[in-house]
């Protein structure tokens, strides 16, 4: 339990710093940045206290907002993602999630990709929509969601592969 708290705190701080100091300055093709920090939400223990999880996700997005001057766009996107996560888990992993014995590194590859991909699409869409804040730019929002989303999926899959215990 204690170990879990330490691990998640380090992950929280580490991901925020990596995001704002490195990843947000990539600007691939002018505007595409990966958002790795939602890895925190994706990996947060599945059977933990729901209220605490919502508050932590909000704080995660809010700290990114502080650095990037984006108001509350990241906070809202993270919050919604955290809120719908149980549904996504049930959708992607089915029965094993309901039995609460799920570990992300042991799930089938296809299910894991679908979980990560859908989460990222939801998060990025809300994020870019709130950043633009107008319906007339919806095409740009969708374009950014798709491109940045692919970039994020690749980066998240890679970091999962590098840091997962299965391969050690």
């Amino acid at each position: 339990m204690n170990n879990n708290i330490v691990k998640n705190s380090i992950r929280f701080l580490g991901l925020v710093l990596i995001q704002v100091l490195i990843l947000s300055n990539i600007n691939f093709l002018g505007y595409i940045n990966p958002y790795l920090y939602i890895l925190f939400i994706l990996l947060y223990p599945f059977n933990s206290n729901r209220s605490l999880f919502l508050i932590l996700s909000f704080l995660l997005g809010f700290s990114i907002d502080l650095f990037e001057d984006s108001g509350g766009a990241h906070a809202a996107a993270c919050l919604v993602l955290a809120f719908v996560r149980p549904n996504l888990l049930r959708f992607s992993f089915g029965i094993s999630y309901d039995h609460q014995n799920l570990r992300l590194s042991t799930t089938p590859f296809g299910a894991r990709v679908s979980y990560i991909f859908i989460s990222i699409l939801i998060h990025h869409f809300i994020l870019f929509f709130l950043e633009m804040f107008s319906l007339s730019h919806i095409i740009i929002v969708l374009k950014k969601t798709l491109f940045a989303g692919l970039f994020s999926v690749i980066l998240i899959m890679l970091s999962l592969a590098v840091f997962s215990k299965k391969y050690r």
Binding site: L17, V20, L21, S24, N27, G30, Y31, I32, N33, R50, S51, L54, I55, F58, G61, F62, D65, L66, F67, E68, D69, S70, G71, G72, A73, A75, A76, L79, V80, F83, L130, E131, M132, F133, H137, I140
Partner: protein, 274 residues
């Protein structure tokens, strides 16, 4: 009563979710309305501190380039200065710059710069302690950067010209036809000058400078070159694409301009209104 409590406890996660969502949407709306001051910005001591610490590394990588820019600027200023000596007796000339009016310049370093979003901000490593206040103009030797918007003790946040909320008064350098400078959010090197009357002689390659209508920038600071232009839907105003002289993706050091006459002028205008 018991039932109300039961209801609240049963739905505590949903209520928490809705509350936090409302809070974040509120923050978002606040950043999108220009004149309301938002409490959250990157000009606070935590984020500013982290950014300036990280920027220290970056600074060393670009020292050569900054030196070159300074040499270039020194050369230009020396040219202006030698010409001045020929024309007017320098002792009577109290103004430190070649611009009209009285302006005070401060230097600052950009520690955070973004340009890929629809609303971009910069963070500077100087704040109230060095005398910077909101609504000061920010330029480099090459052109306009933006306007200071929030200040804290040691840091300040600048609304970049690459921000859909920014509206800077600008004019053609050859004639006095002026318009407003906006950004459509697409290319970080190109901004749009709108509301230039049709009578203005617009030509590709002409220079755009800041106009004299603003209390923030001195008149005549360069902005960019005309890249393309067309008449708007009403056929009476030009919309001009302006290619910036500044590379907004690589700024480094900036000057912060204070207009010393601003309060006097505003006071005078207020008297007029009454």
């Amino acid at each position: 009563m018991q039932q109300i409590f039961n209801f609240l406890i049963r739905n505590k996660n949903n209520i928490l979710f809705l509350f936090l969502l409302a809070l974040s949407v509120f923050f978002t709306i606040q950043t999108h309305s220009f004149h309301k001051s938002s409490f959250i910005s990157s000009a606070n001591s935590l984020t500013g501190g982290i950014y300036s610490w990280a920027n220290d590394f970056d600074k060393y990588m670009h020292l050569d380039e900054y030196n070159e820019r300074l040499m270039e600027e020194n050369k230009q200023l020396r040219n202006v200065l030698t010409n001045l000596k020929d024309t007017i007796p320098i002792e009577n000339y109290t103004d430190t710059s070649s611009f009209e009016g009285t302006y005070y310049f401060r230097t600052a370093r950009v520690i955070n710069n973004n340009y890929s979003k629809p609303n971009n901000f910069l963070t500077l490593n100087q704040g109230k302690e060095s005398g910077i206040k909101a609504d000061f103009g920010v330029i480099t030797s090459k052109g306009v950067i933006g306007i200071v918007d929030r200040v804290n003790k040691r840091f300040s946040r600048v609304i970049s010209i690459l921000n859909s909320e920014s509206k800077i008064n600008a004019q053609l350098s050859k004639t006095n036809h002026f318009g407003s400078l906006i950004w459509n959010g697409e290319n970080p090197n190109i901004v749009q000058l709108i509301d230039v009357p049709r009578q203005a002689p617009v030509k590709k390659g002409d220079t755009i400078i800041t106009g004299g209508k603003s209390l923030i920038f001195p008149e005549g600071i360069p902005i960019g070159q005309i890249e393309n232009f067309e008449l708007d839907q009403s056929q009476s105003y030009y919309t001009i694409d302006v290619k910036l002289f500044n590379d907004m993706t690589n700024i480094g050091y900036v000057y912060v301009i204070e207009n010393l006459d601003k309060e006097n002028i505003q006071e005078l205008e207020r008297e007029d209104e009454q």
